[in-house]
Amino acid sequence: MQNKKSAKGELTFVGSLFLLGLIIAITTKVQEMPHLNLTVSPRLFPYAFSIALMGLSLVLFINILRGDIAEPEGLEGSTGSEKTDLKVFGIVFLSLLAFAVLIEPVGFATAGTATFVGVTIAFDYKKYLRAALVGFIFCFLIYFTFTHYLHVQLPAGIFKGIV
């Protein structure tokens, strides 16, 4: 049962890789070329790689149908779960997305803290306040080190003028 579900997921993934190859090939074909006399066309490699991706995806697709289902990567020394917990996946993904959405308006330290707390929640950590405190200290130290010692400019956001 699990194998069947896993095969379906892999077929979808491999099918979308085939589609990606097709899109790249079509995009390359319809693209307007510069009027230059080039020995090797700039289209050659995109064509070659897109055809390779389509061909390889097709072969893998057939192999999966014939029973060559992928072995998911194991965690060293652990047996782990047989299926993906989509809720947890969603929490981690939203935490990553939060960073991208928040970094410019509220600054690195705040956005980083939000992401930090989100990831700890995904790992079933229930002490939210402690996670927020540890996350904030961690992100603030990174912010301070990077902006003051490595001269990497990071958005201060709500702490602008304070640090």
Partner: protein
């Protein structure tokens, strides 16, 4: 100046206080990432790439090289005490090392691993010091067509030997090659595969891909499938010391491991799994105590650990002399060179000789520091495993996002990071190896450049690609790697059916 004089000058530069401190920091961080499962040296170096903005090339590269070596040491600690290899090269060590630890011989297992790594590191670095400049000298004569063949050889071996299946390795490689095409083509000015997205004109940042595929992909994967997995540490009795008998049984495997590991690092043979496995097989065959294998034979730790470290040094030869990385970590070190506008390759010893000799000298120093630091501090490293996983992964994720954003402070890089993070999850879920993707991304643009150069020089004659003896030899090698496993499988099948 000969190599010995150059090396002595290298020591002179490496032994400055600041370089020593960076080396020390690198050994500490390297051991740390080696000990902690889930973070490898490639990710650690990628996350630390922002230091290249403010730190000079010598100090930064010394630190990165020390991380590379340190991770090999750290990996053995977790293999032995946890049966949990911190990095792929330590998988074989876990077979015998953990059994030794269970039998109360953790100290001897840790000592033979550390001393073996030291011996192998020392010998392999010495060979590197003398081999790399000679290879670079020869490589100056290597033309564009030969480079194309060399890169194809690297792609073929890495894609074939890594992961659960060849086809998945090739798909990973092709995705990496496609990523390398995104952006403006430097020769024609044509914008490729940006899908009208202006921010993509400059291409996809290698660092963004590396930090997101390793760190974000790993966090998504571990959290959604292994969040409840724990670590069980075997308590270590006494100190990390070896008896006279242990020394007697270890020294030959150390030397054999070194001479198996080093050449397999030089040729793109797909990382440290193959040499460690070969060393284990050799020790099992040559041992006077074959019955102990599988139950805690010290030779099964000594040989593979030496092979692992020698392999790491060997991988620096094609990186420095040819500009060809043969592992994910070497690929990230190549990016570090490039951030300083230094292109590793045949002319590196001429254009940046002082820097490279400093780096090589620092490898000797780092190797010694690792032995001095690791054996007495082994209990401290084990304590690190008590860092709660939720905080560990939360910290890694924030650091990775920072690494992706800090490069250009661009939202586009963060969007790419998110997409690549999900791709990293899918790769792990569907058994696709990551190293071929990284190699394709980094070497893809160079492949296209050398290909075009070769065809332009020959005025459009494609037969130039296989016109030289070296390219002919390499293409034969590619065919052997491509069809070799299938032939072996067929022969095995026939034997079994007889």
């Amino acid at each position: 100046m000969n190599n010995v004089t150059n090396l002595l000058h290298g020591f002179q530069s490496a032994l400055t206080l600041s370089n020593l401190l960076f080396g020390l920091l690198g050994t500490f961080l390297g051991t740390l990432v080696g000990v902690l499962p889930g973070i490898g040296p490639a990710l650690a170096i990628a996350l630390l790439l922002p230091i290249t903005y403010t730190v000079g090339p010598a100090s930064a590269l010394i630190m990165f090289a020390a991380i590379y070596y340190g991770a090999m040491y750290g990996g053995s600690t977790t293999s032995i005490l946890l049966n949990t290899p911190g990095e792929s090269g330590s998988v074989i060590t876990a077979l015998e090392g953990n059994k030794m630890a269970r039998a109360g011989k953790a100290g001897a297992a840790l000592a033979t691993a550390a001393i073996g790594s030291f011996v192998a590191g020392l010998i392999a670095t010495a060979i590197l010091a003398f081999a790399a400049p000679s290879i670079a000298d020869m490589a100056i004569k290597v033309g564009s067509a030969d480079y194309v063949a060399l890169m194809l050889m690297a792609f073929m071996t890495v894609s074939t030997l890594l992961g659960s299946s060849q086809i998945r390795g090739f798909i990973a490689l092709t995705i990496g090659l496609i990523m390398g095409l995104v952006g403006a083509d430097l020769q024609s000015g044509l914008t490729r595969l940006t899908f009208g997205y202006g921010a993509a004109q400059d291409g996809i940042e290698t660092v963004t891909v590396i930090v997101s595929i390793f760190a974000l992909g790993e966090a998504l994967y571990i959290a959604s499938r292994f969040k409840d997995a724990g670590w069980k540490i075997i308590p270590m009795k006494g100190r990390a010391l070896m008896s006279r008998e242990d020394w007697k049984r270890s020294w030959k495997p150390w030397l054999r491991g070194t001479f198996i590991g080093f050449p397999l690092g030089v040729i793109p043979a797909g990382g440290s799994e193959v040499p460690t496995f070969l060393s284990y097989a050799a020790e099992k065959n040559l041992s006077k105590y074959p019955e102990e294998f599988g139950k805690g034979a010290i030779e099964g730790v000594a040989g593979p650990e030496a092979a692992n470290n020698a392999n790491a040094a060997g991988a620096l030869v094609p990186l420095l002399a040819l500009g060809l990385p043969t592992s994910a970590t070497a690929a990230v070190i190549l990016v570090a060179f490039q951030t300083y506008q230094i292109q590793p390759g045949p002319t590196l010893f001429l254009t940046n000789g002082a820097l490279i000799w400093t780096l090589i000298a620092s490898l000797f120093i780092g190797n010694t520091l690792l032995l001095v630091l690791n054996l007495p501090l082994v209990r401290v490293w084990v304590q690190l495993l008590k860092v709660p996983r939720h905080f560990l992964f939360a910290g890694i994720v924030v650091f990775a996002l920072l690494g992706a954003y800090a490069l250009n402070t661009a939202m586009f890089d963060l969007q790419v990071a998110l997409a690549i993070g999900v791709l990293g999850f899918l790769f792990r879920r569907y058994g696709m190896p990551i190293t071929p993707l990284i190699l394709g991304l980094i070497l893809g643009p160079n492949l296209e450049l050398q290909f075009r150069r070769a065809i332009q020089i020959s005025a459009g004659d494609y037969s130039t690609l296989w016109a030289t003896p070296l390219s002919k030899f390499l293409y034969l090698g590619i065919i052997a790697v491509a069809v070799g496993p299938a032939i072996l499988k067929y022969v095995k099948k026939r034997k079994a059916s007889l």
